[in-house]
C-alpha cells in the first residue's frame, strides 16, 4: 500500500521527484507517503533523526520533509548538520507547534519552508512543488506567461493586445502567479508570500483577491488563465 521504501539501493526512477520524509509517527508517515506517491513523488521514509541523516547523506534527494521533534536527533539539529555538510537540498519543516518563534527557529536552522500540523495534503504537495521548482527569476524586466506580458518597470500588463489596468496589490499578486505558472498555489502560500502575513484569516480573503484579479485577466470569451483547484488553491494555467 505504501509506495515508499527504506532500502536505499532501490532508488526510484529519476523522473519522479525524490522526497525524503523523516517522521517518527508511523501512521502519519504512512499516510503522507501514500498521498505523496499518488501525487507523483517517490517517497523514502526515515523514522528517526539519525536514520534520516544517514539516508540523506548516502543518497541524493530533491526535497526533504523533516518533523521538528524526532527521537534521537532533533529535526532542527539534523538540518543544521546537513547544512554544515554542504547539503543544500530544500527542506520543509513539519511541526505540531504553531508558534512563530518555532517557525523562525526552523528557518534559521536552514529549513526552507514550514508547515504546522494538522495540514492538508494539498498544502504539503503544493509547498513541496514550490520548493522543487524555484520561481522564475529573470534579469529581464519583462515576464511572460502564456498570453500575459508583465512589464516590471512600467508596472503594466497586457494580455495579447489588450492592456489590463491593475491596482498595485493586484499587480503584485499577478506577478507572483506569473513567476510560478502551472503550479498549485495555496491560499496560505499566497497570503504568506504576497502579503507576508502568517495569520489565518477568518474569511475567504485570498479568494476575493483572486476573484477580482481573475475578472480583469480573464475577460468574457477569453480562455480562462486563472483556475481554482478544488480543495487546494489556485493555478495560472498557461498550457492547454
Amino acid at each position: 500500500m505504501i509506495a515508499s521504501t527504506k532500502i536505499i539501493p532501490d532508488m526510484p526512477p529519476a523522473a519522479l521527484p525524490r522526497v525524503l520524509l523523516i517522521e517518527d509517527d508511523a501512521k502519519i508517515a504512512a499516510d503522507v507517503a501514500e498521498e505523496l506517491s499518488l501525487r507523483g513523488f517517490a517517497v523514502t521514509v526515515a523514522e528517526t533523526g539519525t536514520q534520516g541523516l544517514e539516508s540523506a547523506t548516502i543518497a541524493a534527494f530533491d526535497v526533504m520533509v523533516v518533523d521538528r521533534l524526532l527521537p534521537g536527533l532533533d529535526g532542527l539539529a539534523l538540518i543544521e548538520q546537513l547544512r554544515r555538510q554542504g547539503d543544500r537540498t530544500p527542506v520543509l519543516v513539519l511541526s505540531a507547534l504553531s508558534a512563530v518563534d518555532d517557525r523562525v527557529g526552523g528557518l534559521k536552522a536552514g529549513g526552507d519552508d514550514y508547515l504546522t500540523k494538522p495540514f492538508a495534503m494539498e498544502e504539503l504537495a503544493a509547498r513541496l512543488e514550490a520548493l522543487l521548482r524555484r520561481p522564475i527569476e529573470t534579469r529581464e524586466s519583462v515576464l511572460r506567461a502564456g498570453p500575459l506580458v508583465l512589464d516590471l518597470i512600467e508596472r503594466s500588463v497586457r494580455r495579447d493586445e489588450r492592456a489590463i489596468e491593475l491596482l498595485p496589490r493586484e499587480f503584485r499578486l499577478l506577478e507572483y502567479l506569473v513567476r510560478r505558472p502551472d503550479r498549485v498555489l495555496t491560499r496560505d502560500m499566497l497570503l504568506e508570500d504576497v502579503w507576508h502575513y502568517r495569520f489565518i484569516p477568518q474569511t475567504n480573503l485570498v479568494d476575493v483577491h483572486i476573484g477580482k484579479l481573475r475578472r480583469k485577466v480573464d475577460a468574457p470569451g477569453e480562455t480562462p488563465l486563472i483556475h481554482s483547484i478544488r480543495g487546494a488553491g489556485f493555478m495560472l494555467r498557461t498550457t492547454g
Binding site: D101, R169, F199, I200, Q202, L205, V208
Partner: protein
C-alpha cells in the same frame, strides 16, 4: 533528586499534615505559645513592680530613720550628764528597742561607759554621717542598724543606733504580695491561653476539614469566615474570595469546554451524515463530489475553531514578548485596509481609513497585524450590506489608540467584556463562518501588549454599531529598546 509529588499524593499528604497538627494538640498552637509568652511578660512586670515598691519603701524608711536619729541625738546631747545616763539606761531597757536597737556611751578610747552596746561599733566615725552596720546589743543577736556617733563636750562618744526591723517586714509583705499576685496570674494566663488555643484549634480544625473537602472536589465549600473580626476570619475571607474566583474560572472553562464540544459536534455530525450518504449513493461523480466538498468545508470549520483555540492558548502563554520591537501602527492599519478592501467592496461596505496619525508602539508586529485584521474581519462580518467600517489610529492621552467602528448590530453591553475573554463565543457568531473566536484572539493579543480594550456603541444608523478601541502603551523615541 527532588521530584514534584503527583497531585493525588499532594492532596493526601496535606490531609495527613492536617491530622498531625490536630494531633499535637493545644500546646502546639501558636495561640498557646502566644499566651505563654504573655504570661512570662506579665510575671516579669510583676517582679519589676515589686522590686520598685521594695526599693522605694526602703529608701523612705532609711531616710526616716536617719532623720529620727539626728533629732534624737540633738535632744540627748543637749541634756546634762546624769540625765543622759538615765536616758541611756531607759532606752537600753526600753520595750521600744524594736526601734532603738542600741545606745551607748563610750570614752574617747572606745571603752564602754553606759548603755546596751558592749563594744564600740567598728568603723563608725564620730560626728560622721549615719552609717549602716551590724551591732551586737547585750541580750540580743546581731542586728543591722543605722547608727550615728556623736562626740560630747567632755570627749566621750555617744552612739545611737536604730534597727531596720520594719524594713524586713516590708520586704516580707512585698514578697508575699508578689507571690499572692504572681501565682494566680500565671495560672490564669496559662489556663486562658489553653482555652483560647483550644478555641483556635477548633476553628483551625473546622477549616482543615473544609479544605480537605474542597480538595476532594467539593468546590462550593467555603471556610467559616464569620464577620471577619479577627485575623483568622480575615484570612478565611481572603481564601474564600480566592475560591470564588477559582470556582468562577473553572465554571467558565467548563462552559467553554461545553461550548467548544457543541461547536465541534454540530459540523462533525454533518460531516458524518454526508459521508454516509455519499457512500450509499450510486457513484454519480457530481453528487458525491459535491457532498465531499461540503464535508470538507465542515471539517475546515472544525479546524478553524481548534486552530483559533490553540492560537489563543499560545499567545496567552506569553512566550512571545521576545519578538517585541517598535512598530508603526499606522502602517499596519494601511496594509490591512488594503488587504480587506476587496472583501468590503464585494459586500458593498465602505471601508474607510480615517484619522490616521503616525504612532509607534512597542509590540510584536505579526501579532498586531493579527489583532487589526481580526478587528476589521469582525467588523465586516457583522456589518450588513451597504454599511460602513472605519478604522484609524492616533495618539491620545499618552496612548496609541486604534479604533474600529462599524454600522452593524453592535455588541450588547452585557457581552462586551466577555467577548474579549478567553474562548467566548457569542450566539450571534454561530451563524457566520469562521471560528467565532476573533475577538477572543484580539483580547489575548491585547493583554499581551498591556492594551486597554473598550467596546461601545458607535452611534451610527441604522444599527447601534460597534466601536472598539484598543489603547496601546505608546512608544517614545527616548526609551531605549531593551
Amino acid at each position: 533528586m527532588r521530584r514534584p509529588a503527583p497531585i493525588g499524593g499532594r492532596i493526601f499528604g496535606t490531609g495527613i499534615l492536617g491530622t498531625r497538627i490536630l494531633g499535637t494538640g493545644i500546646f502546639g498552637t501558636s495561640t498557646f505559645r502566644l499566651s505563654l509568652g504573655s504570661a512570662g511578660f506579665l510575671l516579669a512586670a510583676l517582679l519589676l513592680q515589686s522590686a520598685l515598691i521594695f526599693w522605694q519603701t526602703t529608701s523612705y524608711q532609711i531616710m526616716r530613720t536617719d532623720l529620727l536619729l539626728a533629732r534624737e541625738a540633738a535632744l540627748i546631747t543637749a541634756q546634762s550628764r546624769p540625765l543622759l545616763d538615765q536616758q541611756l539606761r531607759m532606752r537600753a531597757s526600753d520595750d521600744l528597742h524594736l526601734l532603738i536597737a542600741g545606745a551607748g556611751l563610750f570614752d574617747a578610747r572606745h571603752h564602754v561607759l553606759n548603755g546596751n552596746l558592749p563594744d564600740y561599733p567598728e568603723g563608725l566615725q564620730p560626728d560622721g554621717p549615719v552609717q549602716q552596720l551590724v551591732v551586737h546589743p547585750t541580750g540580743q543577736g546581731p542586728r543591722i542598724v543605722r547608727a550615728q556617733a556623736l562626740r560630747l563636750r567632755n570627749g566621750d562618744i555617744l552612739v545611737l543606733a536604730r534597727g531596720l526591723r520594719d524594713l524586713e517586714e516590708v520586704r516580707f509583705v512585698v514578697l508575699r504580695a508578689l507571690l499572692l499576685c504572681a501565682v494566680p496570674s500565671t495560672l490564669l494566663a496559662v489556663a486562658g491561653g489553653a482555652w483560647l488555643s483550644h478555641r483556635a484549634l477548633l476553628r483551625v480544625g473546622i477549616m482543615h476539614r473544609a479544605v480537605d473537602r474542597i480538595m476532594a472536589g467539593d468546590l462550593h465549600e467555603r471556610l467559616p469566615a464569620g464577620r471577619e473580626r479577627d485575623d483568622l476570619d480575615r484570612l478565611a475571607g481572603s481564601v474564600n474570595r480566592m475560591l470564588d474566583r477559582l470556582e468562577h474560572l473553572l465554571d467558565e472553562i467548563k462552559g467553554v469546554g461545553d461550548d467548544i464540544a457543541h461547536d465541534l459536534r454540530t459540523p462533525l455530525a454533518r460531516v458524518r451524515t454526508r459521508l454516509e450518504r455519499a457512500r450509499n449513493l450510486p457513484p454519480e461523480r457530481d453528487r458525491v463530489g459535491e457532498m465531499l466538498d461540503r464535508a470538507i468545508a465542515d471539517l475546515d470549520q472544525c479546524f478553524s475553531v481548534i486552530t483559533a483555540l490553540l492560537r489563543i492558548g499560545e499567545i496567552e502563554n506569553g512566550r512571545r514578548r521576545a519578538a517585541f520591537a517598535t512598530v508603526e501602527l499606522t502602517e499596519i492599519v494601511d496594509d490591512i485596509v488594503d488587504l480587506y478592501e476587496p472583501i468590503a467592496e464585494a459586500r458593498q461596505i465602505a471601508l474607510l481609513a480615517g484619522r490616521c496619525e503616525p504612532v509607534r508602539v512597542h509590540g510584536d508586529r505579526d501579532l498586531l497585524i493579527e489583532l487589526v485584521a481580526n478587528l476589521i474581519d469582525n467588523a465586516i462580518k457583522f456589518t450588513p450590506e451597504g454599511g460602513r467600517v472605519e478604522i484609524g489610529a492616533r495618539a491620545r492621552d499618552g496612548a496609541a489608540v486604534l479604533h474600529v467602528a462599524d454600522s452593524g448590530p453592535g455588541i450588547a453591553a452585557a457581552e462586551r467584556e466577555a467577548v474579549l475573554g478567553r474562548f467566548y463565543r457569542s450566539d450571534k457568531s454561530r451563524h457566520v463562518p469562521g471560528s467565532g473566536l476573533g475577538l477572543s484572539l484580539v483580547g489575548a493579543i491585547g493583554r499581551l501588549h498591556d492594551a486597554r480594550i473598550t467596546i461601545a456603541d458607535a452611534g451610527s444608523a441604522p444599527g447601534p454599531g460597534c466601536l472598539i478601541e484598543v489603547a496601546l502603551p505608546i512608544r517614545h523615541h527616548a526609551i531605549a529598546v531593551p
